[in-house]
């Protein structure tokens, strides 16, 4: 087949020239890329690819051009001697370009890793730069925030009405808020407080061991009711919550205690329970007393009729007198029970409390004697006249003073004081003795009817019950504080019921509120 070689010649010549041009243009571009980013391995990779292609283009195109020129000039023999060199160089260039190309995947991975590391470094650098530029401001802000936070929590610690306490694991006190000192009765900086542990304030060691054990086992304890010792040796019932604070530094773990004083609440609860108990007993007593009172009246009436018809000093007369005496005793007890049960409305006599107290003391001095007892009277002059049942109030005072006399025994002192609280409209009477005191176990029962610590026959056990009933009947309160071996103090609080209309400034109560 005879064909024109011109197309082949033209395409060969033009193509060879274009290959050289384009390959060097590529090399130039990739050179620019490398110059812009010298650390980029992808550009380095493409540079070597383009370098190989440029070498290939030069060797191949030069060979082709030379070949065509030699052919046209009739020097085909010369081309035969050049041809092996041209072909060999071409082959080498293929292999070079192909070999470099094979590294693409590895180069790409390196590029990705470098880019990632670079971005991470850039992020760190930006952060460091930001911190460096804003360090002072950031520190100032953080310090301010910390100060505010510290102040806030310090205030909670300082003004809390409950005890907040930080101790070591063995109970050694590290820090305690002012409320804690108040609850325990100490002043901050008190020398006697310094060496104490929290365990020392527990009334019962078993309770401390239980609290400690729970914290060790569960790392916390919640609302455990325990009794603590006040500085003045009185009991304080509290609710203890605590949690163990695990230290993340080298410092040892600590325990954070939160202690709530519930002594007052417990006392009120006990008083309410006592009042409920006495009210129940009173209701029962009143029912029985009413039922017994009528038959006793009948027995007494008929006994007195029989006595009237009998000759005096006969045996029958004496027997009837004995019956009459015991019936009267029974009636007296029934009356006491009715008084205790508040079944009868008190009379409204205008009296002065201090006068009534003096009358009671005089009565006892005349009938029972107070020779070896030092009686101290501290009457407040401001105590006004009041509407009270004089007879019953005097009975209360006589009961209490007689009890004090029995408690004091042969020698001691008796302190009787009155006070007036115009704001609350209350008159307060305190009768304190230095007697043997009342055991704690008996304190809750002393107002119970028929409860007595006196030997059989010396007391009916109705004195304090009747006094309680009378005071309650007047709308008042009677309380007792006692310590064995040191004495007892009975406090009567009576609402002011004034007979004088002018005393409007005072808070005026009525009996039946």
């Amino acid at each position: 087949m005879i064909v024109s070689s011109l197309p082949i010649w033209i395409i060969d010549m033009v193509g060879s020239i274009l290959m050289i041009i384009f390959s060097f243009m590529c090399l130039s571009l990739v050179g620019t890329l490398r110059t812009r980013d010298t650390g980029n391995v992808i550009w380095t990779y493409l540079f070597w690819v383009c370098l190989g292609l440029a070498g290939f283009a030069v060797s191949r195109s030069a060979g082709h051009i030379v070949k065509q020129i030699l052919f046209l000039s009739g020097n085909e023999g010369l081309w035969s001697s050049i041809r092996p060199y041209s072909g060999a160089i071409n082959s080498l260039m293929f292999v070079f370009v192909a070999s470099v190309t094979l590294f693409f995947e590895r180069i790409w991975k390196i590029y990705r890793q470098v880019t990632k590391d670079k971005q991470a470094l850039q992020g760190v650098r930006d952060e460091l730069l930001f911190l460096n530029q804003n360090l002072e401001r950031l520190v100032a802000e953080r310090t301010k925030e910390l100060a505010l936070s510290e102040h806030k929590y310090r205030r909670i610690f300082e003004v809390s009405q409950d005890m907040i306490l930080v101790t070591r694991l063995d109970g050694t006190i590290l820090n305690m808020n002012p409320a804690g000192y108040d609850i325990l009765g100490y002043e901050k900086g008190d020398g006697s407080f310094a060496r104490k542990t929290f365990a020392d304030f527990f009334l019962n060691d078993s309770e401390w061991q239980a609290v400690k054990g729970s914290i060790e086992r569960h790392a916390f304890i919640s609302n455990a009711e325990v009794s603590l010792k006040h500085k003045v040796e009185k009991q304080i019932r509290v609710l203890v919550s605590a949690s163990r604070d695990v230290s993340f530094s080298d410092k040892e773990d600590t325990i954070h205690f939160f202690v709530r004083d519930i002594e007052q609440r417990r006392q009120i609860e006990e008083q309410i329970a006592q009042a409920d108990k006495l009210a129940s007993i009173g209701q029962l007593s009143a029912g029985i007393a009413h039922e017994i009172n009528n038959p006793l009246g009948v027995i007494l009436g008929y006994t007195q009729l029989l006595i009237r018809n009998e000759v005096a000093d006969t045996e029958k007369f004496n027997d009837l007198k004995t019956i009459e005496k015991h019936v009267r005793n029974c009636k007296s007890i029934v009356e006491d029970l009715l008084n205790f049960a508040r079944s009868s409305k008190p009379n409204e006599d205008v009296i002065r409390v201090d006068q009534a107290l003096d009358d009671a003391i005089n009565f006892i001095q005349q009938n029972a004697g107070l020779e070896n007892i030092e009686v101290e009277r501290r009457y407040q002059a401001a105590v006004p006249e009041m509407l009270l049942d004089e007879k019953k109030i005097k009975q209360v005072f006589i009961n209490l003073i007689m009890n004090a006399k029995h408690a004091i025994g042969k020698e001691g002192s008796l302190s009787i004081a009155t006070g007036f609280n115009p704001v609350e409209g209350q008159v307060i009477v305190k009768i304190a003795d230095t007697g043997h005191g009342i055991e704690e176990k008996n304190l809750a029962r002393i107002f119970d009817p028929f409860f007595t610590t006196k030997p059989t026959g010396e007391g009916t056990g109705l004195g304090l019950s009747v006094s309680y009933g009378i005071i309650k009947n007047h709308g008042g309160e009677i309380q007792v504080e006692s310590k064995v071996g040191k004495g007892s103090t009975f406090t009567i609080v009576l609402p002011l019921i004034s007979p004088h209309p002018r005393m409007k400034h005072a808070k005026v109560h009525s009996y039946h509120r």
Binding site: V3, I8, L33, R36, C50
Partner: protein
């Protein structure tokens, strides 16, 4: 002792001691070796470009215009290599085609296979610059686009 290693060592000793033939220190390279080496180089080039296309697609780089052009460049290089391989094969390796110059701008192409198709294919394959020049052109376009993208990225990074 591991029996496999033992037999391997034994076989090596027997082959060295008993199976001996005259050995020449340097191997002779006759004329066809150059052609074969050149053809193998073409195949290597084809494989290499194929692998490049594979990774460009695998790494999703072809989504970027610049790398897509480079992919086209690799594809044209593969076609060019196939073309060149074919020309070398029929003209030199198998000697199926013979060319005689008839004048300044005329040639006579003959084939022992009496196939006009082969002659037509051979003539077309001789125009191989129609494949390798576009390959370089696509490479140029690809690099130009990469440079443009790099400049755009750089300007975005520099901007506050």
């Amino acid at each position: 002792m591991d029996m496999t290693k033992f037999f391997q060592k034994l076989g090596l000793i027997v082959s060295v001691v008993f199976i001996t033939e005259p050995a020449l220190a340097t191997q002779a390279h006759s004329a066809p070796e150059g052609l074969y080496a050149h053809q193998v180089a073409h195949i290597f080039f084809i494989v290499s470009m194929g692998i490049l296309i594979y990774w460009l697609r695998e790494r999703k780089l072809v989504q970027a215009v610049g790398w897509r052009y480079i992919q086209y460049s690799a594809l044209f290089f593969i076609l060019w290599n196939v073309d060149a391989f074919f020309v070398h094969l029929v003209e030199e390796q198998l000697a199926l085609v013979d060319i005689q110059r008839m004048g300044l701008w005329e040639i006579n192409i003959t084939t022992s296979m009496k196939s006009q198709t082969l002659l037509g294919l051979y003539y077309a394959a001789k125009l191989d610059h129609l494949l390798c020049v576009p390959a370089l052109l696509f490479l140029y376009f690809g690099l130009r686009r990469l440079l443009k993208d790099a400049e755009a990225l750089n300007s975005r990074t520099v901007q506050p």
